[in-house]
């Protein structure tokens, strides 16, 4: 075990820092003045009732939305007005709430696409294929096959993803995100719509990704049992505001959080 992993989450280095972020869509405030951080190697959960701004928060982190106020600092570098593909090349990968796989492509091709940020051969080499482009392709194919083994989806390697059942699609999506070898992995409701068994599988994969590859994970999830078991620290949002932040136990004891979840009327 490395030194980093033995430290409690709150004392590790900060990987990503969210500072006073506000985001609105034409007058509708989605996020108001939120700050929190994600530390190296931890599993950070973002929870909150529907419409709390969780997905918007992820969208801000990987540059899909640009907040009107506040800064995002990733690995010590502020990243203003970053485009999503820049986030991807700098080591932020993610999955989506509603599956966003490339439906016309096979499982293998989907995961290989996730690998695209690490492949370097240009158009001319690709056109020639034989030689460097093919060697590069095979090299990355080997890495992708490891992910396929890891996620136990060997049998659907060549199946078009559109034909796969929901649970497997979620798994392929995780694979596609892992293929980029991210330092920060954003998971948007990785277990939504799954049955108990599938949830257990997915939890196992998430824990394994975290411990085997050392990947830092930020996840949104509604199943409180899963969240409390998996995560090192939890941030709670409600109506676009942060109402709680801390270890699962701290959050569970927080009166504001209890109110939000039990539905105390807003003033």
């Amino acid at each position: 075990m490395s030194l980093v992993e033995t430290l409690p989450a709150s004392q590790r280095d900060i990987l990503l820092k969210v500072d006073n972020i506000s985001l609105s869509f034409g007058g509708v405030k989605a996020i108001t003045n939120i700050s929190f951080d994600i530390r190296v190697g931890e599993i950070r959960a973002i929870i909150g009732p529907n419409g709390a701004g969780k997905t918007s928060m992820l969208n801000v982190i990987n540059g899909f939305y640009h907040p009107q106020e506040g800064t995002i600092t990733f690995e010590g570098v502020p990243r203003p007005r970053m485009r999503p593909h820049h986030a991807a090349t700098h080591g932020v990968a993610r999955t989506f709430q509603n599956i966003a796989l490339f439906r016309g492509m096979s499982t293998l091709d989907n995961i290989m696409t996730g690998r695209g940020t690490l492949m370097k051969r240009n158009l001319l080499w690709q056109a020639l294929w034989t030689g460097p482009a093919e060697r590069e392709e095979i090299e990355h194919r080997e890495a992708v096959e490891k992910i396929i083994d890891f996620l136990e989806i060997q049998h659907i390697r060549k199946t078009p993803v559109g034909r796969l059942p929901y649970g497997l699609q979620k798994r392929v999506e995780l694979g596609r995100a892992l293929a980029a070898e991210p330092r920060l992995l954003l998971l948007d409701e990785p277990m939504a719509g799954m049955n108990r068994e599938e949830k257990e599988d997915m939890s196992r994969f998430i824990l394994d990704v975290n411990s085997q590859f050392g990947t830092t994970i930020a996840l949104i999830e509604h199943d409180m049992g899963v969240v409390m078991d998996l995560s090192d620290r939890v941030v709670v949002l409600d109506y676009g505001k942060k109402i709680g932040d801390g270890t699962p136990d701290e959050v569970r004891a927080n009166q504001d959080v209890i109110d939000a979840y039990l539905g105390v009327p807003h003033e």
């Binding site: 966003a100 490339f102 492509m105 290989m112 696409t113 940020t117 158009l123």
Partner: protein, 358 residues
């Protein structure tokens, strides 16, 4: 000749990702290619060359290019005719400005010129999508044809406004102009199409092809996992226009020899190429060929049947032809939106299991 994959095991990733993973398919493919290169030239005559084979090859090239853009990258374009015109006029200007230049180089350079033009007209695709983009590409179509009509520099100030291909030799044999033997033009077209079909396959099976398809299937997700939309879309426009430009250059140099922009490169050509891609199969190299073959052969067959056999007037035959093409488009979209290539794939699936389908 059995179509079997049993016993055909793959021991390396290289073997696993080849174009024809099944041995009998490989044999069939190479037999076909050998026949096309070594047998057909001995039997070809003027009629087959000008009415069937050259049109097939030239349109295959155009369909390949359009398929890269529409079928792989998901950007619908109605500007094919205009881009073919760019290829043709680039070839003309190159041939007349540099009489010594090798004709193959002329054709490839014409593709290069078209690629640059295509990239420029592809820029709007970064902001607009779907139908809006399709309509925007019509701007390219009308604008380009207008340019070639309006500015005499492009047709070297010739009185008729036409461009005519001067005679050029390849290995001592004329391949453009009226004196070129059918087998020579056929072999030139076949070689060009063969090479670029292979390149097309390479591009679509590697990283760039996957990025195109990612943009096609879900552009937002593609960007978030690291596909840069600018590069992916513009490279698709560039490669696609490159192919279409080559098709235009061949259309002019080795097929017609003389063209005039309004008729030869009008919007109907844009639709024609699009139909080939739809009928053949979106997102399939093979489909581009099947679609081109189908739409080239159909009028020939209909004409032979209605004018030759039944003795009808040619205008009735051509009206029927439009109707049948239109009806077929609809038929294919209803029955098999993935076109002839998908039918071929399904047949192969069946063949693999035959005679024990369960």
């Amino acid at each position: 000749m059995l179509y079997r994959e049993a016993g055909d095991f793959k021991t390396s990733y290289r073997a696993d990702q080849q174009t024809f993973p099944i041995r009998s398919e490989r044999i069939l493919f190479w037999a076909f290619i050998v026949a096309a290169f070594a047998v057909v030239p001995f039997f070809i005559n003027d009629y087959w060359e000008k009415s069937v084979l050259i049109p097939f090859l030239v349109w295959s090239m155009a369909a390949l290019g359009l398929n890269i853009l529409v079928g792989y990258c998901g950007q619908v374009s109605l500007g094919t005719g205009g881009f073919m015109a760019v290829g043709a006029y680039a070839a003309y200007k190159l041939m007349t400005a540099f009489p010594e230049m090798n004709i193959l180089l002329v054709i490839v350079l014409s593709g290069g010129v078209t690629a640059v033009v295509g990239m420029a007209f592809g820029l709007p695709s970064l902001r607009i999508k779907g139908f809006y983009l399709a309509v925007a590409t019509l701007a390219a179509q009308f604008f380009l044809v207008w340019v070639f009509n309006k500015f005499p520099w492009f047709y070297n100030y010739s009185a008729s406004g036409q461009i005519t291909a001067p005679e050029r030799l390849l290995f001592g044999v004329p391949v453009t102009g009226p004196n070129s033997p059918p087998w020579a033009t056929y072999l030139v077209a076949l070689t060009v199409v063969f090479v670029f079909a292979w390149i097309g396959k390479n591009l679509t099976r590697g990283r760039i092809g996957r990025q195109w398809m990612a943009i096609r299937d879900m552009d937002i997700a593609a960007e978030i996992i690291g596909v840069e939309p600018l590069r992916a879309k513009i490279s698709a426009f560039a490669v696609s226009s490159f192919y279409i430009g080559i098709a235009g250059a061949m259309y002019f140099t080795i097929w017609f020899g003389a063209v005039e922009p309004t008729e030869a490169f009008g919007i109907n050509q844009s639709f024609r190429a699009l139909f080939m891609v739809i009928i053949g199969g979106l997102g399939s190299i093979l489909g581009s060929f099947l679609g081109a073959g189908f739409l080239v052969l159909l009028p020939v067959l209909l004409k032979n049947l209605m004018v030759g056999q039944l003795g009808w007037a040619t205008d009735i035959a051509s009206h029927f032809e439009i109707m049948i093409v239109g009806a077929l488009i609809i038929f294919f979209l209803i029955v098999e939106p993935h076109g002839l290539a998908q039918l071929w794939r399904l047949t192969k699936e069946k063949l693999r299991l035959w005679p024990f389908p369960h």
